[in-house]
């Protein structure tokens, strides 16, 4: 590899493609009939979604006794899945908001897709607290509204903060996503000749006309939204971690939880984005839009956040020893060597060891290897939440109430089904909307901005 000149910014899009060819390429999946592979993929995700429906049906009909949850492990797969999916969502907002504020141009190729993933992941996540309450048709009671019972919600409870945080996160992500989509809908409106398509795109584009008097405000709003979404994304997983940290359960009651959870969320989110993106990039021939440089940068973020997560694991052990609290010390020894040691060591090897391979440049730029590592990270991050939730609850202060948690078949149906739910939306998204932002990608092609020669 030749020596890189770091004084010049690298091209984000390879090869300076004509702008029209970008439109053609990105809107191709929307304008052609889906092929056989798409239907095979869709049938798989729909089967998984079917499992989800059956699992939820059993849960609603017979109650949550169908799950493995029992005293003392009252939170298990339901909460593990909730935290896992909320975490997946965080990568999208990080890419679209935080990297936008830092003026990282390489984000443009992956931003739209990651934002879409955020929305679907948060939708998946939101289902879990709603079904976990046992009688999901009463979920309206989570919201503070004047009611005939004459009672109000408890504003000092982290579980209520969760309701506000996750619903705000979903709404703001959706708005952010839609604002980004408006110019793209207008492009599609101008491209299409079909009557129904034209009407649909006209409605969703709101009659956008690419006016610079609009772009002026539009860019300001994008900046403001990015400014809001940045603390928001940090707050969401912080509040999710409060669900644990505010309790007195050993292994949960730690102040490191908020940063540790946020780092873990970004870590797992990037892994999921990486996994899905590598497939999309291959199928739709986006290699020059989502370049190896971009993937390399994503891997670096995974390396950073993975190391932060590893540091947090070590720090939890250190604080357990340093605090001198017997119950705390026992919990951590129990995690590593107790009945759930298998889960703990899966977590450590997937989350701490595997991303360290990204120190090597060759691995960072090798698509198959990074795909495998990202899968490992996803598995590891799921187990991290499992270890935190289940191992702490199964052995708390009172040895007489200790028990070993075992999931039931319904738990697994819902777990697999949640992936079906998520990926069904992803598949439909790739066929219904441009998975790369047209306006943003065009703006970062070499020569797309004025050169300001005479200024």
């Amino acid at each position: 590899m030749s020596v890189v000149d770091y004084t010049k910014e690298l091209s984000v899009i390879e090869g300076k493609p004509p702008l029209r060819s970008l439109d053609d390429l990105i809107s191709k999946p929307l304008e052609t009939k889906p092929d056989k592979k798409f239907y095979i993929a869709l049938s798989i995700t729909l089967s998984m979604l079917g499992l989800f429906v059956i699992g939820l049906g059993l849960t609603f009909w017979y109650g949550i006794g169908m799950w493995g949850n029992n005293n003392p492990v009252g939170w298990a797969f339901d909460i593990v899945n909730f935290v896992f999916w909320v975490g997946i969502g965080h990568a999208g907002t990080l890419i679209s908001a935080i990297l936008f504020l830092f003026r990282q141009k390489w984000r443009t190729g992956i931003a739209r897709f990651a934002e879409g993933m955020t929305i679907f992941a948060v939708m998946t996540a939101m289902l879990f607290p709603l079904i976990h309450v046992g009688r999901p048709w009463l979920d309206g009671w989570l919201l503070p509204y004047p009611n005939q019972h004459g009672i109000w919600t408890n504003f000092t409870s982290p579980l209520l903060w969760d309701v506000f945080a996750v619903s705000t996160y979903f709404t703001v992500s959706l708005i952010f996503w839609y604002v980004g989509l408006i110019p793209d809908f207008a492009v599609l409106r101008e491209r299409t000749s079909g009557k129904v398509k034209k009407l649909t795109y006209s409605i969703f584009s709101l009659g956008w006309r690419f006016s610079n008097r609009h772009w002026n405000h539009y860019e300001m709003v994008y900046l403001i939204l990015a400014g809001f979404a940045t603390p928001l994304v940090l707050s969401v997983h912080t509040i999710v971690s409060f669900d644990f940290a505010v309790s007195i359960m050993p292994g949960w009651h730690t102040t490191i939880f908020p940063p540790y959870f946020v780092a873990g969320a970004v870590f797992s989110g990037f892994a999921m984005v990486q996994n899905v993106l590598l497939i999309i990039r291959k199928i739709f021939n986006y290699e020059h839009i989502i370049t190896v440089d971009t993937l390399d940068k994503m891997n670096k973020i995974m390396l950073v956040t993975g190391s932060m997560v590893g540091y947090a694991y070590a720090m939890e052990f250190f604080i357990a020893w340093y605090s001198g609290v017997e119950a705390e010390q026992f919990t951590f020894v129990n995690r590593a060597f107790g009945p759930y040691a298998w889960a703990y060591w899966i977590m450590v090897s997937c989350n701490v060891i595997s991303p360290q391979l990204f120190w090597i440049k060759k691995i960072r730029r090798s698509v198959p290897v990074m795909f495998v590592i990202a899968v490992f990270v996803n598995v590891g991050m799921w187990f991290e939440r499992f270890v935190i939730v289940v191992s702490s609850l199964s052995r708390d202060y009172l040895p007489s109430s200790w028990a070993y948690y075992k999931p039931t078949y319904v738990d697994f149906m819902i777990l697999i089904g949640s992936f079906g739910f998520f990926f069904t939306f992803i598949l439909l998204f790739t066929k219904a909307l441009p998975v790369v932002s047209l306006a943003e990608v065009k703006a970062v092609v070499d020569g797309a901005q004025p050169s300001h020669k005479d200024h």
Binding site: T156, R189, N212, R213, A443
Partner: protein, 379 residues
């Protein structure tokens, strides 16, 4: 066909540099109602067009701060005024615990308000009837061309001048844009029967669905509101027991708390000798005694124990409790009368616990002392 009305003149450019120059020239020439259309925002274009910085930040600021304040006030009113419940020993108004909700509410309302203000008020969208829609010009600027539009409304607009100006700048495809016939004769479609019919149908549909959901669906299984439970309710039959009753009698010899069987039934003298009042004379005991006396004893014996019945002769008046006989009775002897009854007075064991009876005895002593006070009490 009526005469066409001119909306403006458009011209296209191929490079971002040339459109920036054209915009600069148009602005310096004094055109006010002109616009630049580009497929993506161009750096430096706001400066070239002399556009002021967007004021949308103020919308976020005002809405964000006021919704933060509204959230604090709402939580204060809910938690400290309308529904005050102490949770975890924290003050009713625990500000630190409200911070997450305040933050989320601020972000949510400010984001929604900013975006809606931009789209609906600043841009006046949705607007699919704009003259530029459906033109070749729009098709080009959507993809890879950079266009400039000078509106006919502009004070300095003059067809020949504008054409010349665009040519000088190097624009291609210089073409006029006209209002559509439809756009000129545009009427609000709100009162069209189709639209009203649609609204009515929507109203009917949503109210029907809401009614069925709230009144029917939510009472079908599995939504049983825990009314159906695997247990025997009172008065229900059971196949488990030979007698077929769901309700069972307590095991023989069961004694309820506070209701030990009375040992001196029919033996008033023995009771008077053996029973001792276990309660101390204290304010709370006397208050309990007064309460019970007023409820259970006073209807016949009167509030002062003088036999001043409130039953107006419908039931024989009892003798006074201030008689020499009763005053010399021991506490246990009075307790026996309450427990076992005397003459036509029934037993009060089902109404009063042993403790309440003893408290009433203390109170009777208070009444007696009040009518027959000693010299020393006056000092």
């Amino acid at each position: 066909m009526s005469e066409k009305i001119l909306y403006g003149y458009t011209g296209l450019f191929d490079s971002p540099d040339s459109i920036t120059h054209a915009a600069e020239k148009a602005a310096s020439k004094g055109y006010k109602k002109f616009d630049v259309h580009t497929p993506y925002p161009l750096h430096g274009m706001n400066k070239a067009m002399k556009l002021p910085t967007s004021k949308l930040g103020y919308v976020s600021l005002v809405v964000g701060l006021s919704s933060a304040l509204a959230a604090v006030l709402a939580m204060f009113w809910i938690s400290a005024k309308d529904y005050p419940i102490v949770i975890g020993g924290k003050p009713l108004f625990s500000f630190p615990a409200y911070v997450p909700v305040i933050f989320e509410v601020t972000v949510l309302s400010a984001s929604i308000a900013t975006v809606l203000t931009m789209l609906l008020i600043f841009f006046k969208l949705p607007n699919n009837g704009h003259p530029l829609h459906g033109t070749e010009y729009m098709k080009n600027v959507a993809v890879d061309k950079y266009g400039i539009l000078i509106q006919a409304e502009d004070e300095k607009f003059n067809e020949a001048d504008v054409k010349k100006f665009l040519e000088e700048c190097g624009a291609v495809n210089i073409s006029p844009v006209y209002f559509d016939e439809e756009e000129i004769n545009h009427k609000h479609k709100i009162l069209e029967p189709k639209f009203i019919g649609f609204l009515l149908l929507t109203a009917l549909f949503t109210s029907g669905i809401s009614y069925l959901t709230l009144n029917k669906l939510l009472y079908l299984p599995p939504f049983d509101w825990m009314m159906e439970q695997e247990k025997l309710n009172p008065q229900s039959t059971s196949t488990i027991f030979a007698d077929g009753f769901g309700m069972r009698k307590p095991v023989e010899g069961t004694v309820a708390r506070g209701y030990l069987p009375y040992a001196f039934k029919g033996q008033p003298e023995a009771a008077g000798e053996n029973l001792v009042n276990p309660l101390p004379v204290s304010k709370s005991v006397l208050e309990l005694g007064q309460k019970k006396f007023d409820v259970y004893c006073s209807p016949c014996h009167g509030y002062h124990g003088e036999g001043e019945s409130r039953l107006r002769g419908q039931f024989p008046n009892p003798p006074s409790l201030h008689s020499e006989k009763v005053r010399t009775w021991s506490d246990g002897r009075i307790f026996h009368v309450i427990t076992d009854g005397q003459n036509i007075m029934p037993s009060y064991s089902t109404q009063l616990t042993a403790e309440e009876k003893w408290a009433a005895v203390h109170y009777i002593r208070v009444l007696q002392r009040a009518l027959n006070a000693k010299e020393s009490d006056l000092q």
